[in-house]
């Protein structure tokens, strides 16, 4: 398969400022040397705890934040090196769906205006074809023609999220960054939106970067999954491989936290000890070692790099065999 997006050694540190003169006293290592690929027509799931840098990765790809170093190659072009006007051409190709459908729509704009905004800005269609396209988009996400003159507050959360999806689609994007698109919705509506996303992918061949913390949702929708911990990518594998044979103790702990709908299911959940370390001052060596069951001296000193343990499966752990295959 063809690569659509290649993220190489992406770094973003947010400075922590203190005092009257705003002296920089440290930095939050939100994204620290992250590397992964997204193929055309694929859904890449990105999971991890809150604050591990998933959202930052998404926003870096969208150029909402400027990366400190590293490359973001979109169809071979490095987005981080583009000037503002050059970037403009790529804006329409990468879109975003946010977590909160209440915050992501301009309350003062009618749905029709919201959906036409991008088409007008990028002159994707001649003026007389904009309105038919807007109605087509509404139909695509299962809303009515009459909704075009309504304001966002007149819709429910699920409907609003579908408007957000329609807005993203209005650009005919190649990649959509879905930043926890269903976590704010209740379960029945979650399924609606997820199925919509899947159908659209089959129809239009869009790639998704699907950021989430719910493992069940990620398993349902993703082709491949990357696991992040404290700004680092710790494991990447195909979905089935990851859920059947994970190679990182952290992934194992995450997977064991997925509830099983069976009262007789024997629980062998791995409880992680301790708190998530402070990303301003992450642990030495392997960042997971203070909470890892298998940690030894090597883990405290030497930082593990991502290495291949099976076809399409990379893990950043010194001792993946302790988890892999068990």
């Amino acid at each position: 398969m063809e690569k659509l997006l290649e993220v190489r050694h992406l770094k973003k540190y947010f400075p922590v400022k203190k005092g009257f003169i705003k002296r920089t006293v440290g930095s939050v290592k939100a994204t620290d040397d992250v590397t992964f690929d997204i193929y055309k027509g694929e859904t890449f799931g990105l999971v991890g705890e809150s604050g591990c840098g998933k959202t930052t990765v998404g926003k870096l790809i969208l150029q909402l934040h400027k990366a400190d170093s590293g490359e973001i190659l979109f169809e071979g072009t490095d987005l981080t090196k583009l000037s503002k006007s050059e970037l403009q051409k790529y804006r329409k190709d990468i879109q975003i769906i946010f977590q909160d459908p209440y915050g992501s729509l301009n309350a003062k704009m009618k749905v029709g205006t919201i959906l036409a905004e991008g088409i007008k800005k990028h002159k994707l269609l001649p003026p007389d074809q904009i309105q038919p396209r807007v109605l087509e988009l509404l139909k695509l996400v299962g809303l009515h023609d009459s909704d075009v003159n309504k304001y966002p507050h007149e819709f429910s959360g699920g409907q609003r999220q579908r408007i957000v999806v329609a807005r993203a689609l209005s650009f005919n994007p190649k990649l959509i960054v879905c930043d926890e698109p269903v976590s704010a919705l209740d379960v029945s509506v979650q399924a609606q939106v997820l199925n919509l996303l899947e159908d659209l992918q089959k129809e239009l061949g869009i790639s998704y970067l699907f950021i989430a913390h719910g493992m069940a949702v990620v398993r349902h929708i993703s082709h491949r999954v990357g696991v992040m911990y404290l700004g680092k990518m710790v494991e990447i594998a195909e979905t089935d491989e990851l859920f059947e044979h994970c190679g990182h103790p952290y992934t194992q702990a995450l997977l064991s936290s997925v509830p099983v709908a069976n009262p007789f299911h024997k629980k062998n959940q791995i409880m992680l000890e301790g708190e998530v370390p402070n990303p301003i001052n992450p642990p030495t060596g392997c960042r997971f070692h203070p909470r890892c069951r298998f940690a030894c001296d090597k883990c405290k000193q030497e930082e593990p790099q991502l290495r291949k343990i099976a076809q399409g499966h990379v893990v950043a752990c010194h001792y993946p065999e302790k988890v892999y295959g068990n």
Binding site: G103, M109, Y151
Partner: protein
């Protein structure tokens, strides 16, 4: 006119709007229609009590009080509206830029805003009157400048909260430039708060104008604002109380109407609030 319909349902606000409409109408053409002249003196009818002929009485120079109150409303409203319009445009622009851009620009602008805010309006009025001389333009400027910080602070805090919203990020990913984002996303979302502030500021500007004129640094005779009329009537308060009572009532009515209108507008402009009753 959706907003007008909603406003109609808020009784106090709607009545206030009608009162303001009448006041503005009177101020513009009242004296012409009634055929009375606020400047015509007549020593034979000095300090005439309200009654037939001169409905609100006459003052110490025999001028018709009704004509003078109507004229005073015109001057006072004009000063208050012009100065608030000035504050609205300058203050909102400064505040929006300050909040939207952030960083050093924000720090500097906030410092300026706070510095202006540290001057009491009356003191600023006195200062400008001393430096530039008293008169209508200067009093407008003084009230305008002293109202800038209110709009600037409000716009700044709104811009900061709006800037962090996700729809701004989606506007960025849409490829809109800063000007488009400010005019199409930031300003519309703060408009209702700003409009309410405009109405409330107009009320307080009217009071400030009256205060300054009462102190003698505002509008100079023969022009007369409501504050000047109060000042003139003050000398005769025990003999001819109607000289101060009627301008006072005019101030009261205008200020209350502006305040109620502000409240009503806030509800009417909020698309999320349905006005039922």
């Amino acid at each position: 006119m959706d907003i007008f319909k909603k406003l109609k349902k808020r009784k106090t606000a709607f009545i206030s709007l009608i009162i303001l409409g009448i006041l503005v109408f009177l101020a513009l053409v009242g004296n012409t229609i009634l055929g009375i002249d606020p400047f015509e003196t007549n020593s034979k009818i000095r300090l005439l009590a309200p009654g037939m002929g001169h409905i609100l009485g006459t003052d110490n120079l025999g001028r018709d009080v009704l004509a003078r109150v109507i004229y005073g409303i015109r001057i006072s409203l004009a000063i208050s509206l012009v100065s608030v319009a000035f504050a609205l445009i300058v203050g909102t622009a400064i505040g929006t830029i300050s909040g939207y851009v952030g960083g050093k620009v924000d720090s500097v602008l906030v410092l300026i805003i706070e510095a202006v805010c540290a001057f009491p309006t009356v003191l600023l009025g006195l200062l400008l009157a001393t430096v530039l001389g008293s008169g209508m333009t200067n009093i407008m400027l003084a009230i305008g400048i002293s109202n800038v910080p209110y709009f600037a602070r409000l716009a700044r805090s709104m811009a900061i909260s709006i800037r962090g919203r996700e729809y701004i990020e989606s506007a960025v990913t849409t490829g809109l430039n800063h000007f488009e984002i400010i005019t199409r996303y930031v300003l519309p979302n703060m408009s209702s708060v700003i409009i309410v502030q405009t109405s409330l500021s107009a009320a307080s500007a009217l009071i400030t104008e009256s205060t300054l004129s009462f102190m003698g640094v505002g509008v100079q005779p023969p022009a007369a604002s409501l504050g000047v009329l109060l000042r003139d009537g003050y000398d005769y308060i025990s003999k001819a109380s109607w000289l101060s009572i009627f301008p006072g009532i005019a101030i009261l009515l205008t200020v209350i109407a502006l305040n109620f209108l502000g409240d009503g507008l806030r509800d009417a402009l909020d698309v999320k609030i349905r006005v039922d009753n």
